[in-house]
Symmetry: C2
Subunit: 324 residues, 2 copies
């Protein structure tokens, strides 16, 4: 019997990361108003969230500034315009994608930046570049996590090698990222056990970032909590690419650490997420995402289906099955 | 590590019960068209579902026939008008609620009825009446399950006594019913272990009926599969009271028995469930249901909130918290 965080007690090491702007930004090209971002910052402060991810440090040579909102680039000045000097317990994170980030230039010294944590996102085959980014960020004084994407497509042997390389880097946290929402809880447990071998050996923490293609983002996250994973990603109303992520309102209601409070999350959803949906921003569980999740595929075809406002699920199923 | 039904293999004893008309009927007062019900019957046949629950055997003296659709009463003639003699592998079920059913009169001999399974729904304190209903249905030749509702509110000691009474009855299946959607997977596992003691002693099967208040209906159902539970309730598109139930499309995609096929479910959802939603029938995860789930309460206040089309979640939270 798994006693997830002992249910009536809690593990003080747990860190909750709000990824609403970053993963949610993938849905609306990061066009969040400053008011929205300020209100989210305040909601995170009041709800006891540990880290707030503002978005990506994206390379301006690769991405046109006119086509994306500010959270795609996360200039230090922009973040400071929201958080000031951020003399709070809430830490600030940004994501830096391998191959899509001019990290040497765009990530400045931590002492000059409002950012606390750099989250390096990588696929398994780009680990050496990830390590270079990790070392760069560490030299500049940041906390650093390494988020291994598409974990459901990795082979165990390759994963062990990658974790051994990462273990020898100065990274603080290994992140399990179920990009395709393909995993069931018992698979999460297996993957956590592989991560734990390396985390124990190299004294690292483990995190999880889940997707809701099979309505399992929350279930997989609390499975991971029970397995010893400490860093937990969630988003308000599950906002995130495709089927979205683990819902912050569910996660904070589950965690028993008295510092967490779901009420500001509920209030924010009422005041800011409902209007976003009314504006036509679409995310969340739907059959097309279930299908790509079950087939262990990138959700891009399902996202296109959603954008085209198609509802012919059975035709879509035939289309993607035909690709096999 | 839990190896849910060994993941790549399957347990032939598993039975899938489609509860769409019964639990879904609670959302639209059972006003399903005959075309809808016939198409659902055909979809269940093609998808390999084992049992199709048509609705309730409700007492006409208590419930006004003009206020509810046919699936509230499940006349044998009505069912026969859909399924004919039902010479198929798909069995027919109805639910009989303790205290809301004139079972001695309305449930006829099985040999004269298209119904195969009577599902007796009871709270813990009405077990003696449930046993009388079980014995009555068994005498008439039916398969019988006993669905213990509001399981998250029962004390373990009481539950053991109730299961011991039920164990001595001729019931075939004990059902765990998380009416309030209050339970986390590890609590499901604990409850299953209590049920298993009695099920092993008295040679009964165990079933589960989950609600999606915390987006855990599917997760709790597959947790139960991994714990040895064989009878699994699900509904198309999760249609059911409040936050709804375990989604049939997810469950059939998870189960590896080759007789199950999710495609007819997807097709039915596209052709029949989407129009239902477009007509304004509302169910599914939303914050008000999350709140009653977390507080381990009946969803009636959340259902009222939904019916009034309220969106002031934070006020609702204050209202229900104030009731403590």
């Amino acid at each position: 019997m798994k006693e997830i965080s002992k249910l009536l007690s809690y593990r003080p090491d747990i860190k909750v990361v709000d990824a609403t702007l970053r993963d949610g930004g993938l849905v609306n090209d990061f066009f969040f108003s400053d008011d929205f971002v300020k209100a989210l910052y305040n909601a995170n402060l009041r709800s006891g969230v540990d880290y707030m991810e503002f978005g990506y440090k994206a390379d301006r040579e690769m991405f046109d500034e006119n086509k994306f909102g500010k959270c795609k680039f996360c200039d230090d000045d922009y973040i400071r315009s929201i958080v000031g000097e951020n003399n709070t317990d809430l830490k600030i994170a940004v994501m830096a994608d391998v191959g899509r980030c001019n990290y040497k230039q765009d990530i400045i010294e931590r002492k000059d930046s409002p950012i606390d944590l750099i989250r390096v996102a990588t696929y398994l085959h780009t680990i050496p570049t990830a390590v270079d980014m990790i070392e760069d960020a560490k030299r500049k004084g940041y906390e650093v996590s390494c988020n291994i994407m598409a974990i459901s497509n990795t082979q165990e042997g390759d994963l062990r090698v990658a974790l051994d390389i990462l273990g020898q880097s100065p990274v603080d946290v290994f992140y399990i990222v179920d990009s395709f929402g393909a995993l069931y809880p018992e698979q999460i447990q297996r993957i956590v056990s592989i991560f734990e071998e390396a985390a124990t050996k190299y004294n690292k923490k483990i995190g999880i970032h889940a997707h809701n293609n099979q309505q399992l983002a929350f279930a997989n996250t609390i499975e991971a909590v029970g397995d010893g994973v400490d860093w937990l990603d969630a988003t308000y109303s599950s906002m995130g690419r495709g089927a979205g992520n683990c819902a912050m309102e569910l996660l904070l209601s589950f965690l028993k650490n008295p510092k967490y409070n779901a009420f500001p999350v509920i209030k924010f959803i009422e005041e800011h997420m409902l209007p976003l949906r009314e504006q036509g921003v679409v995310w969340g569980y739907d059959l097309q995402y279930m299908m790509t999740g079950i087939l262990n595929r990138h959700p891009r075809s399902a996202i296109a289906f959603t954008k085209e406002k198609r509802k012919d699920y059975s035709e879509f199923y035939k289309e993607i099955i035909a690709l096999d």
